[in-house]
């Protein structure tokens, strides 16, 4: 019961903090800070997509950036062809979801094990990267949209209010949209995980054979989880294409996939708030490191500006030293600290129970 009340407290805290960020930031912050925060929010949605399928579903997908990139490209291409953003947004969610369904069917119904799953998703990401990267020529186009190959697609038209082509959403509007989407995603996932479906997927993560013997079909449950994750990542990609008005094949790249995994592992598998915090923290670190461009031959500055080096060290350190991630580990310490005086008191008053010994 106690953990239940803690949960509600936590949910309320997240809700209040989220609403505060949503409402207050544009009033008090400069526009460049708002712009920076917008990308954090968008990436946090991407982090949540992997938090769901890896942290709760137990599916380690090395290619979450494939769905992200597909979403971004779908939006861009559809936008050039249609010009009104309602249908492109829907497509940017549905196409990655459909792709995830196809890939997931292949993987889960083939009963491919965890490790192979990682390698297959990695391979798919590389296929997409290689294919899109090589479409630079003018002969590669879908409708009026040129794919651009390694140059990417610049000048993507921004989102508009559904149904009204001329009411374009401005930078501040993007911030509201991204933050609100993140909050909706977070609470939506909490609801999903509290439902019967959520309990079953966690059960499958814990012991697939047992869940199967109890009469659940793990393949179907994993597939649905995977598709939801793909759709979320696609949606994040759609927002990302809007944020910079630009997409390039690097968003399919391994570096992007590695980042998503680092967010989740730093924040903590099996939590939702952890990956959000991990994502924002790492993104902030990336910006800080990138701003600190190497000047001259100062080797320290050169190392600090070298993002892969720092990320590599972070990833190794977390796997070896904090494998559960920050939020669960800190939560444990916090819980122990909170309980400590209570336990001392109860020990003094009551005889110890046998099974505690």
């Amino acid at each position: 019961m106690k953990s239940g009340s803690l949960n509600i407290l936590g949910l309320a805290l997240v809700g209040i903090a989220g609403l505060a960020v949503l409402l207050l930031t544009p009033r008090f912050a400069e526009l460049d800070v708002v712009l920076e925060l917008t990308i954090y929010m968008i990436m946090a949605i991407l982090a949540l997509s992997l938090a769901l399928i890896w942290g709760y579903g137990g599916i380690l997908c090395f290619g979450q950036s494939a769905f992200f990139g597909l979403g971004a490209y779908t939006y861009a291409i559809a936008m050039f062809n249609i010009g009104e953003s309602t249908v492109p947004v829907l497509l940017a969610v549905m196409l990655p979801a459909a792709f995830a369904a196809l890939l997931g069917y292949f993987i889960f119904y083939g009963r491919i094990s965890d490790v192979y799953l990682g390698v297959i998703t990695l391979t798919v990401t590389l296929i997409l990267f290689n294919s899109v990267n090589s479409t630079a020529g003018p002969e590669f186009h879908i409708g009026t949209a040129r794919l651009g190959g390694f140059n990417g697609i610049p000048g993507i038209p921004p989102l508009n209010v559904p149904g009204n082509k001329s009411a374009v959403i401005d930078l501040e509007g993007m911030f509201y949209l991204a933050t609100a989407s993140l909050l909706v995603t977070y609470f939506g996932l909490r609801l999903l995980l509290a439902s019967r479906f959520g309990r079953v997927i966690v059960g499958i993560r814990e012991n697939e054979r047992r869940a199967e013997l109890l009469g659940y079909d793990p393949r179907a449950y994993k597939l649905v989880t995977f598709v939801i994750g793909g759709a979320l990542a696609g949606f994040a990609g759609c927002l990302f294409a809007n944020w910079g008005n630009f997409v390039s094949p690097t968003i399919f790249g391994l570096a992007q996939s590695a980042q998503i995994i680092i967010w989740v592992i730093v924040g903590g598998r099996g939590t939702l708030i952890g990956p959000i915090l991990g994502c924002i923290g790492i993104q902030w670190l990336t910006t800080a490191l990138g701003a600190n461009q190497p000047s001259g031959s100062d080797w320290w500055a050169r190392i600090m500006a070298n993002a892969p080096l720092i990320f590599g060290i972070i990833l190794i350190a977390f796997v070896l030293l904090v494998p559960r991630g920050l939020v669960p580990t800190l939560g444990d310490w916090g819980g122990r600290l909170l309980r400590w005086p209570l336990r001392r008191a109860s020990l003094a008053l009551k005889p110890k129970r046998a099974e505690e010994g």
Partner: protein
């Protein structure tokens, strides 16, 4: 006719290079069940070791065939002792840690060598078949691949080290009970796997050039070759390389090199779906 001969050489070369880049990984994966995602970076380090040694005036053959494997082998042993040994039995965590290692090595080499392609020109001249011309170095790569595979076969089949290795692969607990020291076997295995990767990276360096992120180009190909091959190290690597190398080269010939690679990766996914245990899970089961 000339075209057929040329295509045959190209296909053989594709098979040989696939076998060469995957065999180090196959040994590490087959023996230790460790997925080493930093494999591509081991190849990259081998390339750099060869290029640095050559630019210091050492003979190119010596730096490719001796120095590069030794340097990368030592790095492999250090990695095993400092990172991998804490993670045995935690397959997913090993994948993540070696991915971190891969990023770290990419960052480190970028900091040292800069983000540019360096190369050494391929030694040996070229051979003509009718109207076509190809580099003799192609034949050298094929020869190295054949020699490496033959050497592994000989070591595994006829030496004490090979016996211990096969025993540890089949049943690590039993091998330990019979007096083998598994940590030592694992460290040696990882070192040998890394050394072979270094050799492959060095031998392929004149063909592709070396740059810090070249590992990405290698890692997916070598992984699918190893997984497509299945549990047996030699016959698995060989059969999967033969299959994927042919597909890659024929598709490249018909379209572009990029789509050749895409065809290879797509074929691999289909193969893993059809034979989850790899080729040697179904065929050649008694091979090494």
């Amino acid at each position: 006719m000339d075209l057929v001969a040329l295509l045959a050489v190209q296909v053989l070369y594709a098979i040989a290079s696939l076998a060469l880049i995957s065999v180090g990984l196959a040994i590490i994966f087959g023996m230790m069940r460790v997925i080493n995602l930093a494999h591509g970076e081991f190849l990259m380090l081998g390339g750099y070791a060869a290029i640095v040694a050559t630019s210091r005036g050492i003979s190119i053959w010596l730096s490719m065939l001796v120095i590069a494997p030794i340097v990368v082998g030592i790095i492999g042993v250090i990695v095993e002792r400092t990172i991998i040994r804490f993670l045995y039995g935690r397959m997913i965590d090993t994948m993540l840690a070696t991915w971190g290692l891969s990023l770290f090595l990419v960052g480190l080499t970028t900091a040292i060598f800069g983000n540019t392609t360096v190369g050494i020109s391929a030694p040996l001249g070229s051979i003509e078949i009718g109207a076509y011309r190809f580099s003799t170095y192609t034949l050298f790569v094929i020869a190295v691949a054949v020699l490496v595979l033959a050497a592994i076969f000989a070591v595994m089949r006829w030496t004490r080290l090979g016996l211990i290795a096969r025993g540890t692969m089949q049943n690590a607990d039993m091998a330990a009970a019979l007096g083998v020291n598994p940590p030592r076997v694992y460290a040696i295995t990882f070192g040998i796997g890394a050394a072979l990767s270094g050799l492959a990276g060095a031998v392929l360096a004149p063909v592709s050039g070396v740059f810090p992120t070249i590992g990405v180009a290698y890692v997916a190909k070598s992984f699918i070759t190893v997984i497509g091959g299945g549990a047996a190290i030699l016959s698995g690597t060989l059969s999967a390389s033969a299959l994927f190398g042919t597909i890659n080269q024929v598709a490249t010939f018909a379209t572009t090199p990029v789509f050749g690679e895409v065809a290879l990766l797509a074929a691999a996914i289909v193969l893993i779906r059809l034979l989850p245990q790899g080729i040697t899970g179904r065929f050649f089961r008694r091979g090494l």
